[in-house]
């Protein structure tokens, strides 16, 4: 019951700002459309996991811009969720809410926001490219966006707004760049396999370009990773809001 109240109030800050909702809707659509419009065509052979595929660079770019946009938005949402809500959440705990309820409400807000931007991004991609497995593609976006939302929350715990925004941006750029199949050409460096985006990226590429040879493994590992960052956020957030 109290969890529901906390969640409703947490979400209210989003839906009472139509400009923000419009921005979260328009940004993925614009980025994906721009990517498909600007990138020139040209076939490229890519080594993805156990499969070699030939795809148009324009399509690959569009397929990868969607996770970049979704993770960036979720990362910033997570960052500001932590920066803006700690004081209010502390007061909620003082007034009788259990810390777990408050933390869960904030994480649920992040999950809902991540789902929203992932859904919009997936829809934007589908307007330009017939993804073979749109549901899996969307799930991979959601997992990556949610993880970076959690990372944004962790960054927000220790850094201010300026440094925090830079760091979120930096973390996402490293993740996207290091795993870009046009750069790795099938040889992802060992260190990059530990990045949060590695397993969702494999699911995304499988869903969009290959015949899903090892998707289940990567999906399970993505969920594991998401569970670990969720636990990290719960511990850190809980400690921050305890009086």
């Amino acid at each position: 019951m109290r969890y529901g109240t906390a969640l409703r109030y947490s979400l209210r800050s989003y839906y009472r700002s139509p400009f923000l909702l419009a921005l979260l809707l328009f940004l993925p659509i614009a980025f994906v459309a721009l990517s498909f419009a600007v990138t020139p065509s040209g076939l490229m052979t890519l080594d993805i996991g156990e499969t070699v595929v030939t795809a148009d660079v324009k399509d690959i770019d569009g397929l990868l811009v969607a996770p970049f946009t979704a993770t960036f938005l979720a990362g910033v949402i997570g960052l500001f969720l932590m920066l803006a809500s700690v004081e209010a959440d502390r007061r909620l705990v003082l007034s009788g809410f259990r810390p777990g309820e408050v933390v869960l409400a904030r994480l649920s807000t992040l999950a809902i926001a991540s789902a929203y931007v992932s859904l919009v991004s997936t829809g934007a991609v589908l307007l330009h490219y017939p993804v073979g497995q749109p549901l899996l593609y969307g799930v991979s976006l959601l997992l990556r966006a949610y993880m970076f939302g959690c990372i944004g929350m962790l960054i927000g715990t220790y850094f201010g707004k300026t440094g925090g925004t830079y760091l979120v941006f930096l973390a996402i750029t490293i993740d996207i760049t290091a795993l870009d199949p046009r750069i790795t050409l099938g040889e992802v460096p060992d260190w990059a396999t530990y990045l949060p985006g590695y397993h969702p990226n494999q699911v995304l590429l499988d869903a969009a370009l290959t015949g899903l040879p090892d998707t289940l493994t990567h999906l399970v590992l993505s969920l594991d990773y998401a569970a670990i960052v969720t636990l990290g956020v719960m511990l850190v957030f809980r400690r921050r809001i305890l009086p």
């Binding site: 830079y166 930096l170 750029t173 760049t177």
Partner: protein, 244 residues
């Protein structure tokens, strides 16, 4: 401007710069973010070009891609500096005015800080760029990224004065990304629409400096006009923020 005015502007600017640079995270990221952007754009195009037919390379060359990464990284960082300066400094600026500063002195201090950060950032960015690719006319590239990122510093101020931090940071990122993409696509079409985009003319200066080794004086002049217009709006906005 009297000596007292200059002293006050310098002091206000020094305090701003100190606030920014005393945070080691901000300083570290001034180096790492441009590095990643230069690498990000350059490496992708370098790999793609190696694996595609020659006509693809005609659309964008590897040196252009590295320079574009430098421009994007510098624009994002300077834009965010301008943005967070106006959102974070409202209360302090008003206190300075209450304490006897004239609003214009406070505004001049803030603008000076943006210029100093832009200068430092572009110096670092050019140094990073030189590790990856040596432009044929490095000064033209420096001039382009400097004036382009300064425009974004001022745009950051304007965005920051009208929007909350959350919406504003997203909006700023959106403006810069769309501008860099569209400005590049417009290329040398000479389209009148290009004049609307802050990055269009700096982009022309940069591309000429990278590919032909020449200085596109007309585009640079138009970039300066754009920068002056953006400065005028930023001053008006800062002035309003400090006065009310």
């Amino acid at each position: 401007m009297s000596e007292s005015d200059r002293g006050r502007v310098a002091l206000a600017s020094l305090m701003d710069a100190r606030e920014y640079f005393r945070n080691p995270v901000n300083v570290a990221l001034l180096v790492t973010i441009p590095y990643l952007f230069v690498y990000f754009y350059g490496a992708i195009v370098e790999h793609v070009v190696q694996n595609l037919p020659e006509e693809y390379a005609e659309f964008i060359s590897v040196p252009e891609a590295y320079a574009m990464g430098a421009f994007f990284g510098a624009a994002v960082l300077t834009g965010l500096v301008g943005f967070y300066m106006v959102t974070g400094a409202r209360a302090a600026d008003r206190r300075l005015v209450v304490a006897g500063y004239r609003p214009l002195q406070v505004v001049a201090g803030r603008i000076l800080t943006i210029l100093v950060v832009a200068l430092a950032l572009n110096g670092i960015t050019m140094l990073i760029l030189s590790f990856f690719e040596q432009p044929r006319f490095p000064l033209a590239v420096l001039a382009a990224t400097l004036v382009g990122s300064t425009i974004y510093g001022f745009i950051g101020v304007v965005v920051g004065s009208f929007m909350e931090e959350f919406e504003g940071s997203i909006t700023l990122f959106w403006i810069i990304t769309l501008d860099v993409g569209i400005s590049f696509q417009l290329g040398e079409t000479g389209s009148a629409a290009g004049n609307l985009f802050p990055g269009y003319h700096p982009n022309q200066v940069m591309v000429k400096g990278v590919t032909e080794g020449t200085f596109a004086a007309e585009s640079f002049l138009l970039s300066l006009v754009y920068a002056l217009c953006a400065l005028a709006v930023a001053v008006a906005v800062f002035h309003r923020e400090a006065s009310t």
